[in-house]
Subunit: 201 residues, 2 copies
């Protein structure tokens, strides 16, 4: 990027914060900030979420493990990667291992970190951590919260990619990020176990 | 996905809604819903955002146009695609043309729709619409809101991709989705104008 004066960063001193809403999953914060010119302003609301996690979980036959559930926010049944939120101080890897097991009953002994990124810095404080799980297999029944209805299923990975690209499956935009991180991971890895995957991703 | 009873979709009848928070950019809604078993419950909060838009804007030399700005939610200067929100009934293409012009002063006469997706159906009602703009060029000065400080800049597209993959630039996870949509678009397009791009994406 072009160089320029650092004052343009508009780093802000926070004079005070108030929460307009707060529950288990989200806190909506308004900060009163001191600007470089000495004025104060109430900044746009900030959404404090816990970090999120998701996983591209593949069976030994390179089937991807997906979950289907009704999403009230959009009023539709949606197909997604197993995903969830970090619980307190839980490390992201433990969080996604727990979510995969709870939502699908699948486990894996071979986890790779695909990467993490700030979800949407324009609004949100949190990061999403994406993982690849190889050799995933069903080891238990689902363990869902009361009222939660999630249907796990498998699809050959190449068919899944074709469905995403044709629009047959519309992943959440945020989970398309996981596919982008997977491609970068496959490019920099020379693991022979991933050769078949490299063809389809 | 495996077939199963449709009742598992848990489609819900909404008995009433209340807004816990509401401003220009976001409304936080709590619905009281009637479940299939006759019980009622207050559903998780839903975030009603306007639809979002972003653009991979390329100059005739295949430089990508990026914006750098301080993001208070994460307390950092961040590098991002030009992006924004649809204003009322404004079509997504007009919204992103406006945002590109306002944030960077660049315009383009060759716009392609890369696709759109629900941002995160677990929480949010809105969609993100991603575009590709070719032949982008600076035609005006920036036109920013009061207090907004945004530095536009150009990078060769191949260098940009290398920086994203090495971690030198951390795009918002949601904008990695745009890169994933771009790759799918390039694969299905035989436009010779895009051949050089296909090499680097």
């Amino acid at each position: 990027m072009a160089s320029g004066p650092r004052s343009s960063s508009r780093a802000r001193k926070v004079l005070g914060s108030a929460y307009a809403f707060s529950d288990r999953w989200i806190r909506l914060r308004r900060d009163t900030v001191l600007l470089a010119d000495g004025q104060t302003e109430i900044a746009r609301p900030i959404f404090e979420y816990p970090d999120w996690v998701d996983v591209i979980a593949l069976t030994p036959e390179f089937n991807i493990v997906l979950v289907e559930q009704y999403r009230h926010a959009v009023g539709e049944l949606r197909t997604e990667f197993p995903a969830g939120a970090v619980d307190g101080a839980e490390p992201p890897l433990m969080a996604i291992q727990r979510e995969l097991r709870e939502e699908t009953g699948y486990v894996s002994e071979d986890w790779r970190r695909l990467g993490s990124a700030s979800v949407y810095p324009a609004w949100q404080t949190n990061r999403i951590h994406s993982f690849l799980a190889l050799g995933a297999h069903k080891a238990a029944e689902q363990d869902l919260d009361e009222g939660e209805v999630i249907r796990p299923g498998e699809l050959p990975f190449a068919d899944f990619i074709a469905a995403v690209e044709s629009g047959g499956i519309e992943l959440p935009a945020l989970q398309l990020a996981g596919l982008s991180l997977l491609r970068a991971y496959l490019q920099r890895s020379d693991d022979p176990a991933l050769a078949a995957l490299r063809q389809s991703a």
